[in-house]
């Protein structure tokens, strides 16, 4: 199970890097979003998958799953959500001001 997830992480990362390297700003942002999904899956896989029941008292199980990676992911998701929201607004504002969402053209603006 972990192996499959790791492959999935690899595929997601590859897709994200492909998007990050493109010229369109919106694709770069989508790339960062996929990148964060990839790493969340990685953290999940690192904690071990399906190793026991939920870590609650009274479950009386043989083994319990490690709850920490899930707590970490929850935090990381919130943060990446905030950052993605910010960069979307930033991109829209930059598009309004600079009149382009092409990163190459943006570099050429020299009117300061």
């Amino acid at each position: 199970m972990e192996t499959i997830i790791i492959f999935l992480v690899g595929i997601l990362t590859a897709v994200a890097i492909y998007l990050l390297l493109s010229k369109s700003l919106i694709r770069v942002i989508l790339g960062t979003a996929i990148l964060s999904h990839a790493v969340h899956l990685l953290i999940l896989a690192m904690g071990g998958l399906k190793e026991g029941t939920v870590p609650l008292l009274g479950e009386e199980a043989e083994s319990y799953v490690d709850a920490l990676p899930q707590a970490l992911i929850l935090t990381a998701i919130v943060i990446s959500f905030a950052v993605t929201a910010f960069i979307l607004v930033l991109a829209y504002r930059a598009y309004q001001e600079l009149g382009t969402d092409d990163l190459d053209e943006m570099r050429g603006v020299n009117d300061e």
Binding site: I43, M46, I79, I87, L90, R93, V109
Partner: protein, 495 residues
């Protein structure tokens, strides 16, 4: 257990939230934040004294004993940095009080600064590697806001670069955390130190440590500083001063902490890489500092040189070098803020950032000129100013351990610092006065007072080194002997 450790983070956050509701009262916000920073500075000084008398202080959130809960750990190193950061922010806010325009005053500038400082202080104080990530993000999100505030075209363009680069480096941080958790099963720094020492730092852990190194190098501007000059030279000058003084220092702090406490078994690999990167940073920063005619770019490249210099201290890692690096770190926070504020004042007075369009400012603004002169000497490391002691100790360490290439590079870079700032001094302060006494823009003393406070501070640190030495020696000792830190955090929990 000491609940006061939380205050340097909690107070800025709470006041920041309060200030959001006081949006339209610019002045009130400014005074509130200035008092907040003064309070934070006072508290961190109190804690610093407490650490001297009672040893390392710790706070376990929710009463969960380490390594299970998240804890804040305050040792001399982190408290020295919290104290300096608070003082520098205090002075920068004094500058902001009268200088930023109406738009900045009412567009959540002060809450953002307070959230930034909360993130910075949190990063210095946390004892948990994942919590460090969270504090980094708090700091970075505020810095995104501060960087884009104003919305000039150039700012937006640089901000996009800055944000994307930081998202990618945060991604690397999470990847490194995931692997580290998978490998040793803990994220508490002290516990990590024990586990890594038990397991021996094999190839796997060394590789993970290098991923961490990439992350922190991106934040600190160690070799991976390509984003720094652009983004540090576009926002309003107070923001640049805060960034130059604080943001890279957090990355440097993380490098020091992680590579002295956790990954300290293989210095011939990790510290050697840091050494090479520091050397290249010194070279690149020096070239950048003399290549531009835009005085803000020159100041930004001076930040890069300082990063290289401080990490030479970590790469060498002898007691002298570490002590020197800590002195230099404190000095650099003060004097970089000063440099950016002075550069900003010059730009505000002349209306240009180009070196060749200004001349003879010394006649018009003698006090400003002398402040700049002192800043220059301090950055170059001339005694009795604050840069001297750090340079001497790091050089001594380099000689002891035979790192002659790093020694040569770090001393040569001082000359480049001096040259790059002398160029500004010669072109803009000396030479023919092109603006008559009648036409000159009056220099408001409110701009000058914060600068003079920082000038006094650089004199103070230089002359009062003896008074600081007890704290710095203690900080260096804790860094060099991770056991002190580990024992303080895991007391009782250790087998």
């Amino acid at each position: 257990m000491n609940n006061i450790i939380l205050l340097p983070v909690l107070i800025p956050v709470m006041v920041g939230i309060l200030l959001i509701f006081l949006r339209s009262y610019g002045r009130t916000q400014a005074w509130f934040s200035i008092f907040t920073m003064a309070a934070t500075a006072g508290i961190s000084y109190y804690l610093l004294e407490k650490v001297q008398s009672d040893g390392i202080q710790r706070l376990d959130f929710g009463g969960w004993a380490p390594p299970f809960g998240i804890s804040f750990v305050a040792d001399s190193f982190s408290l020295l940095l919290v104290l300096t950061a608070s003082i520098v922010t205090f002075v920068c806010l004094m500058y902001a009080l009268f200088s930023t325009n109406k738009l900045l005053q009412t567009m959540y500038y002060y809450p953002s600064v307070l959230f930034l400082i909360a993130g910075v202080n949190g990063s210095f104080l946390t004892g948990d590697l994942f919590n460090l990530f969270v504090c980094f993000e708090v700091m970075l999100l505020s810095s995104y806001v501060l960087l884009t505030l104003g919305g000039a075209k150039r700012q937006l363009r640089e901000a996009i670069k800055y944000v994307v680069i930081n998202i990618v480096s945060s991604w690397f941080f999470l990847v490194a955390l995931a692997y580290l958790y998978g490998a040793v099963g803990t994220l508490n720094m002290a516990h990590l130190s024990v586990r890594v020492a038990e397991a021996g730092q094999g190839p796997l852990l060394t590789t993970i440590s290098i991923v961490f190194m990439i992350v922190f190098s991106l934040k600190a501007g160690l070799l991976l500083y390509f984003w720094l000059p652009g983004s540090y030279s576009t926002p309003p000058v107070v923001t640049s001063a805060l960034f130059g003084a604080l943001l890279t220092k957090v990355g440097i702090y993380a490098l020091f902490r992680v590579f002295s406490l956790i990954f300290n078994q293989q210095p011939e690999i990790t510290h050697a890489i840091i050494g090479v990167m520091a050397g290249l940073t010194l070279i690149g920063g020096s070239i950048g500092a003399i290549a531009y005619n835009d005085i803000r770019k020159i100041a930004a490249y001076n930040v890069v040189i300082a990063v290289g210099f401080i990490l030479v201290g970590l790469a060498i890692s002898t007691p002298n070098a570490i002590e020197g690096a800590i002195y230099y770190l404190i000095h650099d926070m003060v004097v970089k803020a000063l440099l950016f504020l002075l550069v900003g004042t010059v730009i505000a007075l002349t209306g240009t950032a180009q070196l060749h369009q200004m001349s003879g400012l010394m006649k018009n603004y003698p006090l400003l000129g002398w402040s700049f002169f002192i800043t220059m000497l301090s950055l170059a490391g001339v005694p009795p100013l604050s840069g001297f002691i750090g340079k001497v100790l790091v050089s001594e360490g380099a000689i002891e351990s035979g790192a002659y290439i790093l020694l040569a590079l770090s001393l040569l870079s001082s000359l480049f610092v001096l040259y790059s700032l002398l160029r500004i001094f010669k072109n803009s302060f000396w030479g023919e006065t092109i603006v008559g006494k009648e036409d000159q823009v009056p220099l408001n003393s409110r701009f000058l007072v914060p600068c003079l406070v920082l000038v006094l501070l650089t004199f103070g640190i230089g002359l009062g080194t003896e008074g600081l030495s007890a704290y710095v020696t203690d900080a260096a000792e804790t860094l060099l002997n991770p056991d002190i830190y580990v024992d303080a955090v895991l007391e009782g929990a250790r087998p």
